[in-house]
């Protein structure tokens, strides 16, 4: 495994380690994610059909309705929320959602350096993100 450490601005505290799911597109949680199971339901999204549950969800920033904050809360209550959220830019809708749902969150992270499937360790207090490449990927 190769290692990489990124530094962002911690928004919601919490420590966890899981597989990354990375998107290059902004996400609107209202209308974009099924609040029941965490599947991306927005047709033209690059993560369409993927499930955000238990992933380190990496995307540039949020957009759309402020009701999106409540969708994150609903996902957490049904155990379908991501383990952590990494953004490039903080959008108040996602920030408030992560706070009320208690999902560790870091912004100002260079998410382009993370690939879907990488194992990522997140520390929401310090803002440190440790990325381990998947072995099979680095062997190819």
């Amino acid at each position: 495994m190769t290692g990489l450490t990124l530094k962002g601005r911690g928004i919601v505290e919490g420590h966890c380690k899981a597989e990354a799911l990375v998107s290059s597109k902004p996400i609107s949680f209202l209308g974009g994610v099924d609040p029941a199971d965490g599947k991306i339901i927005e047709k033209n999204h690059d993560l369409y059909g993927e499930c955000i549950k238990d992933k380190i969800l990496c995307f540039p920033h949020g957009h759309g309705s402020t009701v999106g904050s409540y969708v994150l809360y609903s996902l957490a209550k049904r155990n379908s929320a991501p383990k952590a959220i990494l953004n490039q830019t903080a959008d108040p809708v996602v920030v408030v959602g992560a706070i009320i749902a208690n999902i560790p969150m870091i912004t100002q992270v260079d998410i382009e350096r993370i690939n879907t499937g990488d194992v990522v360790e997140v520390d929401g207090s310090s803002g440190y993100v440790r990325v381990s490449r998947r072995v099979e990927r680095s062997c190819i």
Binding site: V12, S65, V67, Y70, V95, V96
Partner: protein, 388 residues
């Protein structure tokens, strides 16, 4: 943070206060605010079950269970139907979900205002700090009333209501309220629909710049309400200026031609023919003046068969204008309180084409109501809805 704010943040005043304080502090950090300031009122969006869905009900209930209580006067945006008229036409489960949402807000001490125009219930003082979420009310408060508020999201306005404070940034700082662009409107605007069209047009080109708009000195508050609602629909602008005292030299200039207004109105009318299922006035909710004016225009007439005619307002104004409301209802039109047409279930009532004088409604109705639109001034709305 003050000592009390830190105690709330650490959870000494319970979970509801703690989560609300966290929302405010983190948002403040994000926008580099150095402190929280007291607010005189909060206004909460995200009340209609149609836009809210099931997701937030649990959160609202948890807050109410954990003894969350509004510390300042806190008002609510409209819900998804009027109980007297539309509520009876909708399935029971929708009515019950909507009722559950309202119940949670009431447990937390929110006023059941159910209007997008909280300033008709109580006009905020000029210079007072607010945390309001309804975007049309935010622009009206900053621009017409001279109160100071950011454009809050639903949850941040809720948090501000429970804490009684908001982070000090954005529109709460005098330096951020100065105009940064001068707008010349080349031809005087003729009616409220043209004011709305100006707002839609400017919202698209201004980004978050604050415009100083020439030629609004004699505009009525009702016309400015249309302008502000439309400006907030397409843009991020929270305020417009119209006073000569804010005139500044050397700022960027832009001019709006009669053609821009005409093209905007045409673009917001998607229906091929003037045969609406619904003629709708009252976005944002009608003022007392507007209700009086409509009553004067329609007294003694009858609404055409197979046409719905709705006038939306707050319950507060409906009760105050009871005599005028009776005149309007005798014609077969409906004066509806507590609801907003664009967050109501019009498509379930078979409404496919909506005629309105509101640019904001015309902008949202194709997606939120799956309806075609016809944007025309009130005079023409009434001509179309009534016989003779």
């Amino acid at each position: 943070m003050t000592r009390e704010e830190e105690q709330i943040y650490d959870g000494e005043f319970g979970w509801a206060n703690q989560v609300c304080m966290k929302i405010l502090v983190r948002l403040g950090e994000l926008f580099n605010a150095t402190r929280l300031i007291r607010i005189s009122s909060a206004h909460i969006s995200g009340v209609s079950y149609k836009t809210l869905g099931d997701a937030p009900i649990g959160f609202l209930k948890s807050l109410a269970d954990a003894n969350g209580k509004a510390k300042v006067k806190a008002t609510l945006n409209p819900q998804s139907f009027s109980p007297e008229y539309l509520g009876k036409k909708l399935p029971k489960n929708i009515r019950e979900k909507q009722f559950t949402i309202l119940e949670q807000f009431e447990r937390m001490g929110f006023t059941r205002s159910l209007t997008c125009t909280p300033y008709y219930l109580q006009r905020p003082e000029a210079g007072s700090h607010l945390a309001w979420a309804e975007s049309s009310a935010v622009v009206y408060a900053n621009s017409v009333l001279g109160a100071w508020t950011n454009r809050e999201g639903g949850p941040s306005a809720l948090a501000a209501a429970i804490i009684g404070k908001t982070p000090d940034y954005g529109m709460h700082m005098a330096g951020n309220r100065e105009p940064t662009i001068l707008v010349n409107v080349e031809k005087p605007l003729q009616n409220e629909t043209e004011f709305g069209a100006l707002g839609i047009h400017l919202g698209k080109i201004l980004g978050n710049k604050i415009p100083l708009i020439n030629g609004l000195k004699n505009a009525s508050e009702d016309s400015l309400k249309q302008l502000g609602a439309a400006l907030a629909t397409t843009g991020m602008t929270n305020m417009f200026r119209r006073d000569a005292s804010s005139e500044k030299r050397g700022i960027e200039k832009v001019s709006v031609e009669a053609e821009d207004i005409k093209r905007t109105i045409e673009g917001l009318s998607t229906a091929a023919r003037h045969e609406p299922d619904l003629v709708f006035i009252g976005c944002p909710h009608c003022s007392l003046d507007e209700i009086r004016h409509i009553a004067g225009e329609v007294e003694g007439k009858k609404v055409k068969q197979r046409t719905e005619c709705w006038v939306c307002t707050s319950r507060h104004n409906m009760e105050k204008a009871a005599d005028y409301v009776k005149i309007i209802e005798r014609t077969g039109a409906h004066v509806l309180a507590d609801m907003c047409t664009i967050v109501s279930w019009t498509e379930m009532l078979g409404i496919r084409t909506i005629m309105t004088n509101s640019a904001k409604t015309a902008y949202y109705a194709p997606t939120l109501n799956k309806a075609q639109t016809i944007l025309v001034p009130q005079e023409e709305c009434l001509k179309t809805a009534f016989k003779g």
